[in-house]
């Protein structure tokens, strides 16, 4: 008898509690920064594409929903010729983000991707590429890689000595 009354009392008290229900879509839920939602391709601090087309995200993807083709510009900088994610297959596991050696592919706190037509869930590179560095500001892969690209010659990366003069006889 007592427990019955106690339960009714507690329910009654809830009428005065702060509401847990969000009036979505008028009211948006606050998502933590590391929430694994929509996948984007970010840019480096110089505004260039971060993705170098290494295929690691595609290999890590458990549902094989990423496909791309790497190519390079005339200065040797690699980038994806096309980059496609089939979100109708994506399970938002975040493995691609973990696998990415350049912080290019990132999962963002956004889940509002619903479509009436499943075909529209296939995102190409122009759908994925955002003008932002995402969660990892300041990182520029080519600044730590040994490859020479436009405006970064051999020996100009971080922690690199100038190129060896192989004709030098000095010790």
């Amino acid at each position: 008898m007592f427990s019955l009354l106690r339960s009714m009392w507690l329910v009654f008290l809830h009428m005065f509690h702060k509401r847990d229900t969000y009036q979505y879509p008028e009211q948006k839920a606050p998502l933590p920064a590391r929430w694994r939602g929509r996948i984007a391709l970010t840019r480096d601090p110089d505004g260039e594409e971060r993705c170098v087309g290494c295929y690691l995200c595609a290999a890590a993807c458990p549902v094989d929903c990423i496909s791309l083709q790497a190519t390079e510009d005339e200065h040797g900088r690699r980038y994806p010729e096309f980059f496609r994610i089939n979100f109708s297959r994506c399970i938002f596991c975040g493995f691609c983000e973990e696998a990415c050696p350049t912080y290019a592919i990132q999962l963002l706190p956004d889940f509002e991707m619903a479509e009436y037509n499943r075909q529209n869930l296939v995102y190409e590179k122009h759908d994925l590429l955002i003008p932002s560095q995402g969660k990892y500001p300041g990182y520029n892969y080519y600044k730590v890689a040994g490859l020479a690209i436009k405006n970064k010659d051999k020996g100009e990366a971080e922690q690199e000595e100038p190129p060896v003069d192989i004709k030098s006889l000095l010790p």
């Binding site: 295929y55 290999a59 094989d64 990423i66 690699r78 496609r84 089939n86 890689a145 051999k154 690199e160």
Partner: protein
């Protein structure tokens, strides 16, 4: 066999090996860099350290390099000893101090030996916090990309390029921690085997530049075991596809054929598969009264096949299966071999000699083990490149054996043995009309006309066996050459005689057979090797057919009206005049081919057929070894195998026999049943219903990516995966994950071994045959007890004729082959047409280098720029064969200038 204890477990190992080889052969994982099964040990990288104990009481032991220690009975060692493990971890830590942070943008990533070894040793975090050394790269031509920062100084590249392949323009420069592997200055790597650097280099210093144009990681390739189409040697390759285009060719180890290496034509000549000139849909030229539009194309073909008036022309670059079905379809008396007269005579003779003679055709690995080599009228580097690489190994055989017995070192002690051998060479004699690249390693090189080459060879046979006829009227030079060669061959145990199509002379082939037979009679284990021009020249000749000339006659005299041409550009077989006449008289020309060419221009119907990457088929190489290539991917459009088109045509035409061949395996069985020479062709690979643990063998590795996205731009609902009803392989990544039978290995991979070095896990022992035996089956075996019918008809010596020149064919590795020139890099390295003259002949005809020389052949006028080469036989003129825009001039022949 010695027994060694590794980590207290006794193993039986093979004598004469080193510990590293023994461990790898036993399937143990021991990291290494500088050792290579084909190059031997130098002990430079210090990576394969193991701990060796004196005896059972010894607990301290000492660290030794496994690659430098010979196997001894009762030996005790530990691979997993903590000191050895820590040592190996430190060594790789040091090797990695300057290695750039490049894996993501490196073409080697995913198939990198350095990655594998780093993971194997457990070196996960960088302890070195100082700056990294950098280098400038070089431009090394159209095939190889150079990224010197990644180098770990294992020296494998120069050991392969200089020591093994005889290259001169790659070396190591500078000193101490600045050593640089490259050329003296930027420029194309000249050696014909430079592409192997890609596989020899354990990391990404040398990578495949053609792959870079359409880069795909190893794990993303759909691969299948295939056979190179570049020449008649039949090297085993792995071809890889992604997104519907062929991406890369890598070596497929076959202990009896190509071993670990490929030539550049084979490795890079694949891009014709992706060419924009590909025929992808059937083309039908409608006659004005032809109202039957909308019919299936094969109905059109049938409508144009008038009974009794149809002939078929086969092809040496089409598979045995396709040629067989065409032969069945048109009937034995209407099937013509699609090869030129000279070529046909040569190959027919070779086949006869190999079948009826007592001497065995040498495989490439047997050739590499020969202790004396005579090459008659053949520029091997350009006609059969990988055989030239074998010959380069053969010339080292005698000095190495000698060094081994004098310094008591095993052959795998590469540095010590090379030091002992110095520049010593075993006997190699080259007789050719002009200098060849192999001359530099030859004991003697003689440049003379084909008939004189035959005469010298006949003279050598006479010196070896007095009962053979003597050659009269020899020049002093010729006599001396014959005496030198005979003296060198007398001491040889495994002499090899090489001749082939390159000389274009039947006399030379006969003389070569005579020589090999005479050697055999002297008790030597003689071998014979004939080169053939195309990947299935031998198979076509074994199948048999009528001459191409009689096909021309049949059309010209009206007894044939419809011609079915199988994968053959007749403008490369017949001279322009004859070909034009031939097509002018044909009522209907039906061509099955994969690329547009001059012949498809003349066709009324063109059927799109698969290249080696889109078809299953069997090829027979120059030693008579039948080898199967399997389809890599399902092509777009209406492309299918030639034999499938022809089977379907047979079905429509109501051909009862062809109608009964429902499956690929039925076709193979039918060939083996009809032609005794092809017995065994049906068991080269497991049948289509072969399963391991109920599963097919997957063409794709288990990490294959993008399946649900690669076609999502077309349709988000994935199509049903392609099925392969012809073979035991599947087009998907699902299937049996263990080691497949050796004939159907689609890719080499083992846990922890992603790079090409994983081939160790597929071999009985390192450098030995694959598990289950090397794939392929020799169809030609010698007739050991048959009577040796020596040739006694000695040709007359060559005498230059005033006002005339003897045209001799000159071949080029890049340019002479029909399909490989569709690769831009190979086209770039192709020579321009020329005519090569001796300087005296040039004076005689009053021309200088660069001038145009005019001559007529069969009503066609040629104008070719002159190139002077004084090693050429006087009175002869060399013309490059097979180059595009180079009309067919039959060579050798005398022409009036």
């Amino acid at each position: 066999m010695p027994i060694i204890n590794i980590d207290n477990i006794p193993y039986e190992v093979k004598e004469g090996k080193n510990l590293l080889e023994a461990c790898l052969s036993l399937g143990l994982n021991l990291p290494y860099f500088c050792w290579h099964p084909a190059l031997g040990s130098v002990g430079a990288c210090r990576q394969c350290a193991v701990k060796i104990f004196k005896d059972e009481q010894d607990t301290r032991g000492k660290l030794m390099m496994a690659c430098m220690e010979p196997v001894k009975d009762g030996m005790r060692l530990s691979v997993n000893d903590s000191d050895a493990v820590a040592f190996r971890g430190h060594v790789i830590g040091w090797l990695m101090t300057n290695h750039p942070h490049d894996c993501a943008v490196c073409d080697e990533g995913g198939s990198c030996h350095l990655q594998d070894m780093t993971v194997m040793t457990g070196h996960a975090y960088r302890d070195y916090h100082f700056s990294k050394r950098t280098y400038r790269n070089q431009h090394l031509g159209p095939f190889i990309n150079h990224e010197m920062n990644r180098c770990i100084q294992c020296y494998r590249c120069v050991r392969f390029y200089k020591d093994f392949a005889g290259g001169k323009d790659l070396d190591v420069f500078a000193a101490h921690n600045h050593v640089y592997f490259g050329r003296q200055q930027d420029g194309t790597l000249e050696n014909e085997f430079s592409g192997n650097l890609v596989e020899v280099c354990p990391t990404g210093v040398f990578t495949d530049k053609t792959l870079k144009q359409h880069y795909t990681r190893k794990w993303d390739l759909t691969t299948a075991p295939s056979i190179c189409q570049g020449c008649g040697l039949g090297c085993n390759i792995i071809a890889g596809e992604r997104y519907g285009s062929l991406r890369q060719i890598t070596n497929r180890y076959n202990g009896a054929v190509n071993g670990y290496f490929l030539c550049d034509r084979g490795r890079y000549g694949y891009e014709f598969v992706n060419s924009k000139d590909r025929i992808r849909e059937p083309l039908v030229v409608h006659a004005p009264d032809d109202k039957a539009n909308g019919l299936p194309v094969l109905q059109h073909v049938r409508n144009r096949m008038k009974p009794g008036k149809v002939i078929g022309i086969g092809s040496p670059r089409a598979s045995v299966e396709s040629n067989y079905v065409l032969k069945e379809l048109v009937g034995e008396n209407n099937f013509y071999l699609g090869i030129g007269e000279i070529e046909h005579e040569l190959i027919r003779l070779m086949l006869k000699l190999l079948k009826e003679g007592p001497v065995r055709a040498a495989s490439m690995q047997e050739a590499a083990a020969a202790d004396a080599v005579v090459i008659l009228g053949e520029d091997l580097t350009n006609t059969a490149p990988m055989l030239a690489l074998s010959v380069r190994q053969a010339v080292r055989r005698m000095p190495v054996d000698h060094a081994i017995s004098s310094i008591h070192m095993p052959a795998w002690q590469d540095a010590a043995v090379r030091e002992a051998v110095q520049e010593n060479k075993g006997p190699l004699f080259i007789l050719h009309v002009v200098e060849t690249k192999l001359d530099e390693v030859a004991t003697g090189a003689y440049h003379t006309a084909p008939d004189n080459i035959a005469r010298i060879a006949f003279a050598v046979s006479h010196l070896l066996d007095g009962t053979l006829p003597e050659v009269t009227g020899m020049s002093d030079e010729g006599k001396q050459a014959a005496a030198t060669i005979a003296a060198a061959l007398r001491g040889a145990k495994r002499p090899l005689v090489i001749a082939g199509y390159g000389g274009g002379s039947e006399q030379v082939i006969r003389a070569a057979a005579n020589l090999a037979w005479a050697l055999k009679q002297q008790g030597a284990d003689a071998m014979l090797s004939f080169t053939v021009p195309e990947c299935n020249s031998m198979g076509l000749e074994m199948l048999g057919g009528l001459r191409l000339e009689s096909a021309v006659d049949a059309v010209l005299n009206g007894s044939a009206e419809t011609v079915l041409i199988l994968e053959n550009d007749l403008y490369r077989r017949l001279d322009l005049h004859t070909a034009n006449q031939f097509f002018g008289h044909c009522k209907e020309v039906i061509v099955l081919d994969h690329l547009h060419n001059a012949t498809t221009e003349r066709a009324n119907i063109v059927l799109p057929v698969g290249t080696f990457a889109e078809a299953d088929g069997t090829l027979v190489n120059n030693e008579g070894r039948a080898q199967r290539f399997l389809q890599v991917f399902n092509p777009q459009g209406a492309i299918q195998e030639s034999w499938r088109w022809l089977l379907q045509l047979g079905d429509i035409c109501g051909h009862t026999h062809l109608r009964s061949l429902l499956h690929y395996d039925d076709l193979l069985k039918a060939i083996a049943a009809k032609y005794p020479v092809f017995i065994g062709i049906d068991t080269l690979t497991p049948p289509a219903d072969f399963r391991i643990a109920g599963q097919k063998i997957p063409r794709e590795p288990h990490r294959y990516s993008g399946r649900t996205a690669m076609q999502a731009n077309v349709n988000v609902s994935e199509p049903k995966p392609a099925e392969d009803g012809d073979t035991a392989l599947s087009f998907t990544m699902e299937g049996y994950r263990g080691e497949p039978p050796s004939s159907v290995i689609p890719f080499f991979w083992a846990p922890g071994w992603n790079s090409v070095q994983s081939v160790n896990k597929y071999q009985v022992e390192t450098g030995g045959p694959l598990h289950g035996g090397n794939p392929g089956k020799r169809l030609l075996e010698p007739n050991p007890n048959g009577p040796t019918k020596f040739y006694t008809n000695i040709p007359d010596p060559f005498i230059p004729v005033g006002g005339h020149l003897l045209l001799v064919p000159l071949y080029h590795i890049f340019g002479s082959e029909e399909l490989s020139i569709h690769t831009p890099g190979i086209a770039q390295r192709m020579p321009a047409p020329y005519i090569m003259l001796h300087s005296e002949d040039a004076r005689r005809f009053q021309v200088a280098a660069g001038h145009l020389l005019y001559f007529m052949d069969n009503g066609h006028q040629y104008a070719l720029p002159v190139v002077i080469n004084d090693t050429l036989q006087k009175g002869a003129a060399g013309i490059p064969v097979g180059l595009p825009h180079m009309q067919v001039a039959e060579a050798p022949q005398l022409v009036k200038i």
